[in-house]
Symmetry: C2
Subunit: 283 residues, 2 copies
């Protein structure tokens, strides 16, 4: 039993630990995924996860995903779990012809995996985490930007840069030098007291927690915007924090060795989200 | 039984039609593939395919692939086949931890599939094929350029542009407007009597047949070079042809409606390769 073994694995609604050797997810990365945090028996922000997944399916013209079944399966796997992670993968299914082209007669494959909540030393949401800027620059692909698709090889390569276990996350620039995100998180910075996060138009994933932060801060009147950000913006940021479905909001306490202090805006955003993170509601 | 059903599927040396739901090939596209043409019982250019695969493994730091077993398996599946295609996939194996990072303790997964040789109307290597330039522009990623990796979603999307069954191939530019390749082939053009093919430094696959054409034309004293090519170069090309492991060399007889004639250089290159394509030798 390894750290990666899910407690439960379902494929198309049945307990199953394998997929066809012809699945287009394997051959081409032709699919999407979601990582959903579960808390007190409920999936967090499930509606937003399913909405992003549906939007991704639309952009990829990946039809036939049974969202009602998916919603039921995630809810069932979340029930009675105090803390757990559920990873959903949806692929275009088994190839019905050779080659890249989809014929349109494929049946989507639906995979749901439940993992134990990872253990972490300390209280990173309080004390913050260290981050570094990666050497590898992400490809810019407007057709894929924003999607949580299965083509993740660049991130696998980027993570290989990270040997220091004390560094929690790598921040990534794109080929033209724009800040995109962390390898597994989105990034927000504070400049002159205002929140800014990279636009996700050329590369990166439009994270669910990023969206939650954007909408809740706007709703509470905090100045916040999506922008083109560079290394210089990172270097001059008053505060930096990371977001993803599991971590919620982690302040960055060091970036490439420069010390940062979890600041008042970061704390305010954490406070705005605390209840939603601890007590998931439907939808 | 669909057009995509392989006659034979082996995983790690045993008849098997499935892979683990935790395979990193599925989750991240963390792997590589080869498509090998078999002719008269032998795999064509097997040594070159295995060499490219080994180079790809090195670049991805994907260790532990049993190349001796792979060579045996491909040879076994090719035997007694007059014509067949063998697709090899190699992934980093089952995830041993959550997240993108490889821990280094993974065991590579080796998949070998044999497909029937596709039937095609007419004699495209004689009369040529029609091609179009795709709207979608490929991402530029020096870290991945050249590799035949499993992140192929852009090509899936590009192929969706191709509704006309009379058009055989889509040519692709990259984000900065450079010609890269076809969706499933490499491309050569003739300008002022000299052969040119796009450099594969930012995007695209360094095809085995492309390499064979480059080395054999050089060996026979034909002027040939790798270059940065644009739409203007395609528009002014005297001849254009496509290469891949299966098709060998197909002349382009029309590009975006502009008629082209399979010319003398194309015919000369076809003649140079004819024997090697029809009678594969070891190595």
């Amino acid at each position: 039993v390894s750290a990666a073994d899910p407690a439960t694995a379902w494929v198309d609604g049945r307990p199953c630990a394998s997929v066809s050797v012809l699945d287009r997810g394997l051959h081409f990365g032709d699919g999407l995924f979601e990582t959903i945090a579960c808390c007190r028996g409920r999936p967090r922000f499930l509606a937003l996860h399913l909405e992003r997944l549906a939007l991704g399916c639309e952009r990829l013209r990946l039809a036939g995903v049974d969202f009602a079944a998916l919603r039921r399966e995630v809810a069932t796997l979340a029930a009675e779990q105090d803390r757990a992670l559920i990873k959903v993968l949806v692929t275009r299914g088994i190839a019905t012809a050779r080659g890249y082209a989809a014929r349109g007669d494929e049946h989507a494959t639906r995979i749901v995996l439940r993992y134990a909540w990872p253990t972490e030393a300390g209280q990173p949401s309080e004390t913050g985490v260290a981050a570094r800027v990666a050497q590898l620059r992400l490809a810019e692909s407007p057709a894929l930007a924003g999607l949580k698709h299965l083509n993740r090889l660049e991130l696998v390569l980027a993570r290989a840069e990270l040997a220091d276990p004390e560094v929690f996350e790598l921040l990534l620039l794109s080929q033209s030098g724009r800040v995109v995100s962390g390898s597994m998180s989105n990034v927000f910075i504070v400049q002159h007291g205002a929140l800014r996060t990279p636009r996700i138009t050329l590369a990166g994933v439009a994270g669910v927690m990023r969206r939650v932060v954007l909408t809740r801060t706007q709703a509470h009147g905090l100045p916040v915007s999506e922008a083109d950000l560079s290394m210089a913006d990172l270097a001059s940021a008053e505060e930096i924090f990371l977001t993803n479905a599991r971590i919620g909001i982690y302040p960055v306490r060091a970036l490439d060795g420069r010390a940062l202090v979890p600041g008042p805006i970061t704390r305010r955003v954490q406070a705005l989200l605390a209840s939603a993170l601890d007590n998931p509601q439907d939808p």
